[in-house]
Amino acid sequence: MEIGSKIESILLAYGEPIALSKLAKVLGEQEDVIRETVEKLDAEYLEQRRGFAILRKENFVQLVSHPDCAESIRKLKRIEDETTLSPATLEVLSIIAYRSPITRSEIEMIRGVNCSSILRSLSIRGLVDRIEESGDGRSYTYSPSFSLLKILGVKTLEDLPEYANLSRNGKLYPDQKESVSA
């Protein structure tokens, strides 16, 4: 595979701005080669009227949507700004509300379904707070955010209906061990 294709696929997957030096290192190339290839890619996108563009700031680059497409993305956001939540999202939110602080794998043990994208979207929407637990950047717990409490109109979690009773339900505390052995 060509170096250009490699760079664009890395930029797609990485998302955040990435240092040219980091790209150079992972691809085993000179930084100058990377810089030139990135410029060539961006010129190609422009010429082919692609929906992509590469932002360059100092020694960082990032693959983003072309500015001319901003309107479509804004429209999409308006569609995403639903006033109600899907049943799956409500389910996750209810687990977090009644059993916080709780880790992702605990939530998944209770639901029996992967929850990563729902949790990401709840965090992005500011409905739950993600708190780093151990400092290794890999274990987090989730809790209801202040704005969620505001939307729900409660001052503390204890004000949720049947909080004392539901938060102690044994099914919310499944044994971690009996699970994931596929």
């Binding site: 993305i73 049943p87 939307i151 729900l152």
Partner: protein, 239 residues
């Protein structure tokens, strides 16, 4: 009966498939009848089969015996449902063989690690593009009912275990009761034993019991016509 070395297997259908392959047979009704004894022998000699799987193995054994009794005694009348079970087992095993082969291909594809990566949602996007939570209308009672509904659908693991255990014991007990019944009598025919059967499972269980008693040299079986009734007789000690 000769013993056969088997690879690790992933359940009754896998065991059945491996027996067919080791005997160099194709997946047909006749082959299935031929490996029925080997299947049961393997099952009985393998006492560390996990309990949760025991019922599944017994279930497949029961279907195999139904098939075998049909092969030995074509005069036996089968209900439509029983006939279906025989056809089913053959078809299911064919499907299983196909998907087992594909499973290995898929495993190979995953091992090549040609993963495709996607971007996390809204990563690196400007705040103005992110969804706005202030539009949201959620009531605390919505959360309460969502949680209650979820808790309702989570099965109680203890109850599940009990259910599996009960199913296994039911089959095992049936076999045991029948063996005792047979041992009390010195002479009988297969048709007599199954005359009052309540369901198709009982033919199968009877067959299983007789087979085992013959193997343990408690009984002999004689068949006068090729596909006629079977006369079962107790072997008298010291004879």
């Amino acid at each position: 009966m000769y013993s056969i070395k088997l690879e690790q297997f992933e359940g009754p259908m896998d065991l059945l498939l491996q027996l067919i392959e080791k005997n160099e047979l194709d997946i047909t009704r006749v082959s299935l009848a031929r490996v029925a004894d080997q299947f049961i022998e393997y099952m009985e000699s393998n006492h560390n089969l996990p309990l949760e799987q025991m019922a599944d193995f017994l279930d497949t054994a029961a279907r195999l015996l139904l098939l075998k009794s049909k092969a030995l005694l074509p005069v036996l009348q089968f209900t439509e449902e029983e006939e279906e079970e025989i056809v089913d087992l053959e078809e299911r095993l064919r499907l299983y063989a196909l998907f087992k082969e594909k499973a290995m291909l898929l495993g190979g594809m995953a091992e090549e690690q040609r993963y495709m990566f996607s971007r996390e949602a809204f990563v690196g996007l400007d705040k103005m593009f992110l969804p706005d939570p202030s539009m949201l209308r959620v009531l605390s009672s919505d959360l309460e009912s969502a949680l209650k509904k979820l808790l309702d659908t989570i099965p109680d693991p203890e109850k599940l275990k009990e259910k599996i255990l009960r199913r296994t014991i039911r089959l095992e007990e049936k076999i045991k009761r029948l063996k005792e019944l047979i041992l009390q009598r010195t002479k009988f025919t297969f048709f007599e034993i199954i005359r009052d059967r309540r369901d198709h499972g009982e033919i199968v269980v009877s067959f299983l019991a007789i087979l085992e008693l013959v193997r343990q040299k408690h009984m002999t079986v004689r068949q006068e016509d090729n596909f006629g009734d079977m006369y079962v007789e107790k072997i008298v000690e010291g004879k």
